[in-house]
Symmetry: C2
Subunit: 392 residues, 2 copies
């Protein structure tokens, strides 16, 4: 007899970290619908519907809009390896972990990479890029719209204009952005954009929505070399997602069920309502945290509603607070990464998780743990401040 | 108001194609368990348990045994891109679609690829490889154990010995093999082996079990160049799956729940019982098909129990039969790929799908459709022959 672990019995968490976010019950239920084949007429219809919903969420008409059969980081790799051929020049804007990751991915794809670095928590202005673009004349520029490691919200439209004026194409990382803040793929003229299922779409991790505009597709179809990744090669994937339905790999059927339902929920609510809800919950959380002296890590005016990175107050033990939240209150938040390791907390208010119940539960648990750490603050002030925001 | 598709309502299919296979109800239920974070202590424990179960199923002690966060084809790419550096020589054995795919993947990774081709449906003997290995002196040899496009069952042990005697490392594709036929990773000295969740493990597609032996890991850790894929780089993944738990990408939590439960089911039944069950159902199906004059595509003595590729009888319309099976009987089987397009049917008896109910339903539906096509056979003979096998 083999050693067998116990059956699954996951604890029920309040997911308020950088993702996975809280999953809507309808999405969880969809995951366990009966599996069909990846060429079943029903599945092909679902793919069409999913593409159509993704276009609505991305606000694009791009035919080549789909979901990569892997997580958000594979979405990043897909964007890069399809556009880049060995020796191509790429400029990557780095102000956190995910910008640095994109530079790494680009280097592995054979790009001549030029990094532009900004301090963590800051965003880029066109002025930060202008000289480099003129000097490097890159084929591609990559930027992270919602930097999950810092909570910084990069305004994309001005950057997009500058990049196109310099004759380059723009890749936008929208992993944490999509569904939480406005994105206009067509209006902003983004060439390739990707996201992940597990952030503001309230679906478990495992799929990466992605969209290539016609200019990106033309560039890819005119490549001199094969895309280095067979799995991510969009020239072949286009034949499965397009009307030919040529078998490529076996699609992740049940994850697609989950994302299909997640997208229905987003569109049922309406994108504008979703953005307003994220903004409201962010204002409530921020007011609560400010009332007890906790500061945001990202530049003022550029703080993401869905990812609130704040500095651990002086004298407070980072790990003790996060462990207390998890083990005593069942709340997951994220710790700092990279430059912010041990210094920041990352509080997610994403998708289904962006609601008052989560904000109020978190603030009350945090106050208790901070009090135990001897941190001085006005007890109850965070809850009162958040409620004042809700009261309008 | 956005256009919204209807809620999910997938038809209940009897999945008897080349995969996805029939999913066990306990696996479907596991998919919708509450999502936890990818660094949650509970999830880290599940990862350990899953690694332990995968080692049992692969019959290996390899520490670096895990699941790639994507489908089986990404498992193939992971095996290849981690071992291969640009300019390395790789020999790939091609006798069907998946061998050809491996050669394509290897070329994209920068390997100097030498293909050895055998007719579709045939397997390789050491004699087929000997001269090439002596001449090419490859770093890596790749072979598909269970060729899903032909149903051919490649005996691995003699090939493994030959490859190692030639100083090369062996990659084995076990996507359709794992759980259906015996695999002994350590006893056969396989360097890298990968599979998919959606075949004989009865889990939906989306994860690729993989195992690297210590020699493969040493080779990878001594690489002069970075692994070309960031997402699949096993040197980084080892730090997440190992005791360091360094964040790499956000793991597909709910798919992991499904595979965890699927592995529990396989080990509960016992591997030997599972192999015997696959073998019995194959004998019954084969007896049934023989009784109505339908021939196997793979070489006699090397036919996989879990993937039965048979020739479409002369005068019978391939598409009409497969559409009839799907639309009137809810049964999915696979059509032919590549050389076998329009000429073969691929009937899967994988994992939970390898049971009498499926064999008898399929044969009775097939008889009906063949009769309508004017195909001449002894009506009822297939059912009687299958039942004779069950009766022992």
């Amino acid at each position: 007899m083999s050693k067998l672990p116990l059956p699954l019995n996951p604890p029920v968490r309040t997911l308020m970290g950088p993702g996975p976010s809280a999953i809507h019950p309808r999405v969880l239920a969809a995951l366990s619908a009966p599996t069909v084949g990846h060429l079943d007429p029903y599945y092909l219809q679902l793919m069409n519907e999913m593409q159509d919903m993704l276009r609505q969420v991305f606000r694009t008409e791009n035919p080549m809009t789909m979901a990569v059969s892997a997580t958000g980081s594979a979405g990043m790799e897909s964007a890069v390896v399809n556009l880049i051929e060995p020796g191509d020049r790429m400029v990557v804007c780095v102000n956190g972990v995910f910008g640095a990751r994109m530079a790494d991915v680009a280097g592995r794809a054979g790009a001549e990479v030029t990094r532009i670095d900004r301090p963590w928590g800051q965003v880029f202005t066109p002025d930060d890029l202008k000289d480099t673009l003129a000097k490097v004349k890159p084929k591609v520029v990559g930027i992270v719209m919602a930097e999950t490691s810092t909570g910084a919200w990069q305004p994309v439209p001005e950057i997009a204009k500058l990049v196109h004026d310099a004759g380059a194409m723009l890749i936008v990382d929208a992993v944490t952005a999509l569904g939480g803040v406005p994105i206009e793929v067509d209006a902003w003229n983004i060439d390739v954009i990707y996201s992940g299922s597990q952030k503001c779409l309230s679906c478990p991790p495992g799929l990466a929505p992605i969209s290539f505009n016609p200019r990106a597709m033309e560039t890819i179809l005119a490549r001199k070399t094969k895309v280095q990744s067979w799995y991510l090669d969009v020239t072949m994937l286009a034949q499965y997602w397009g009307s030919e339905r040529v078998y490529h790999h076996t699609a992740p059927i049940n994850m697609t069920y989950g994302l299909h339902e997640a997208l229905r929920l987003v569109l049922e609510e309406g994108l504008e309502s979703s953005f307003a809800r994220h903004a409201l919950q962010h204002r409530a959380l921020k007011a609560g945290l400010a009332a007890i002296g906790i500061r945001y890590a990202a530049q003022e005016g550029h703080q993401l509603p869905q990812l609130n990175a704040v500095f651990v107050p002086e004298g407070v033990n980072d790990a003790a607070v996060r462990n207390g939240l998890l083990n005593r209150f069942g709340i997951e938040i994220g710790g700092g990464l990279g430059d912010f390791k041990g210094k920041a907390w990352r509080i997610g208010l994403m998708g289904y998780g962006a609601r008052s119940a989560n904000v109020l539960l978190f603030l009350s648990a945090l106050e208790q743990l901070l009090a135990e750490q001897g941190y001085k603050f006005d007890h109850g002030a965070s809850i009162a401040a958040a409620n004042a925001v809700y009261a309008g």
